[in-house]
């Protein structure tokens, strides 16, 4: 555990750090937490914004209450978020089905292969590894191919599943809040 002196020194040093200074540095740092873009606000594209507005109007009905409209917007946004994650899942499976994998294969997959390459290179007879076409390792039949593609992207699908679950919880909470507001405005 750090002593009090160390903690004080750490704090002093931290105060000296003011983060990135250049424009490029700031831009890069702003994307530090960026992973896949699924948490991006969906209103960032015009088509989504239009779809969102239509859905908000359908949920809120004739209400002009600003809070009701805001809560309807949260429901609609979560609903479109859910749709986006589902699209991402299918796109991932289709990609794996077409190419056999998501990431391109590495030239060397084991340390032994690297050693073998370096030894051969040292002897003046480099062995250039042949690229592996992962799509040839996929079953040719449609449903089997899709199932194999699902198997190959299972870890990624599980991650996306977490986002889907969060969006569903957010939508349900928003529905309850929306109803709470409708009730309150009716009782006023």
């Amino acid at each position: 555990m750090a002593s009090e002196r160390q903690i004080a020194a750490n704090r002093r040093n931290a105060r000296k750090s003011t983060g990135p200074r250049s424009g490029t540095g700031k831009k890069r740092a702003s994307r530090n937490a960026y992973r896949h873009g699924l948490t991006l606000n969906i209103t960032s594209t015009a088509a989504f914004a239009k779809q969102l507005d239509k859905l908000v109007r359908e949920i809120a009905g004739d209400s002009r209450d600003a809070i009701v409209l805001e809560r309807a917007r949260t429901i609609a946004q979560a609903e479109l978020d859910l749709a986006r994650v589902r699209r991402a899942k299918v796109a991932l499976i289709e990609r794996a089905s077409a190419f056999g994998e998501i990431d391109p294969p590495q030239a060397f997959s084991t340390v032994t292969e690297i050693k073998r390459f370096l030894n051969a290179f040292g002897r003046g007879r480099p062995i250039v590894p042949k690229p592996v076409d992962a799509s040839t390792t996929m079953p040719s039949q449609g449903p089997d191919r899709s199932a194999e593609a699902v198997r190959r992207v299972l870890p990624q699908l599980r991650k996306l599943d977490r986002y889907e679950r969060r969006a569903a919880v957010r939508r349900h909470q928003a529905v309850l809040n929306f109803f709470g507001r409708i009730k309150a405005s009716y009782n006023r």
């Binding site: 239509k54 859905l55 699209r87 449903p143 199932a147 198997r151 679950r165 009716y186």
Partner: protein
């Protein structure tokens, strides 16, 4: 039945090329018949439930394919173990095991031969399936986790419909009480008197 414009507003569930849109529609209709959603919010929940159910079916299909596709290598591995005599190495029986495992899927004679080898050790074809499951256990475990997560989300979505309906019923009851008690009328009268005072 849901209104056409409500359904059009909800984003369509994307399907894989190998999946049938008609089958999904049939599943969705079955949930519609059962839950009878009213209004866009209930439609959302039903859409959610059918999407989750569809994904559960997709993963279950995948589970079967994973086990089936591990059958050949499982049989080969099992045969190497069973054909190997004392003091023999794997590579000495590997070719025979490979050929037999390959032929097992199409050749009745090879099937009979494999059954004989298995029965010599008190085993039957379920040993092949067990080995196939063992070999794909990592994938199956991940699939099972995803399936239980989806099943729990489906149940929650069904619960959400019930919760939503209960809160809607509660609100309707309260509104009815308001009308019966005359509170709504009073409010209108108050507003009218406020307007006349202001004038």
């Amino acid at each position: 039945m849901p209104r056409r414009n409500e359904l059009a507003l909800l984003p369509k569930l994307p399907l894989l090329i190998t999946e049938s849109a008609d089958e999904f529609d049939a599943l969705r209709n079955a949930f519609d018949q059962e839950i009878k959603p009213r209004g866009i919010i209930e439609q959302m929940y039903v859409h959610d439930i059918s999407s989750i159910a569809w994904e559960i079916l997709r993963l279950r299909r995948c589970k079967v394919v994973i086990i089936n596709s591990a059958f050949r290598s499982a049989l080969e591995h099992l045969l190497v173990q069973l054909l190997k005599g004392p003091g023999q190495y794997d590579y000495e029986v590997k070719d025979k095991a490979q050929a037999l495992a390959q032929a097992w899927f199409t050749d009745e004679e090879a099937k009979k031969q494999v059954s004989e080898i298995l029965s010599r050790f008190g085993l039957d074809e379920s040993a092949i399936e067990a080995e196939a499951i063992r070999r794909s256990s990592a994938d199956l475990e991940l699939l099972d986790r995803m399936l239980s997560s989806l099943e729990s989300r489906r149940d929650k979505a069904l619960g959400s419909v019930a919760q939503y309906r209960a809160s809607l019923a509660h609100q309707l009851r309260e509104s009815a009480d308001h009308i019966i008690d005359g509170k709504g009328i009073l409010r209108l009268e108050d507003a009218a008197s406020e307007r006349s005072t202001a004038a």
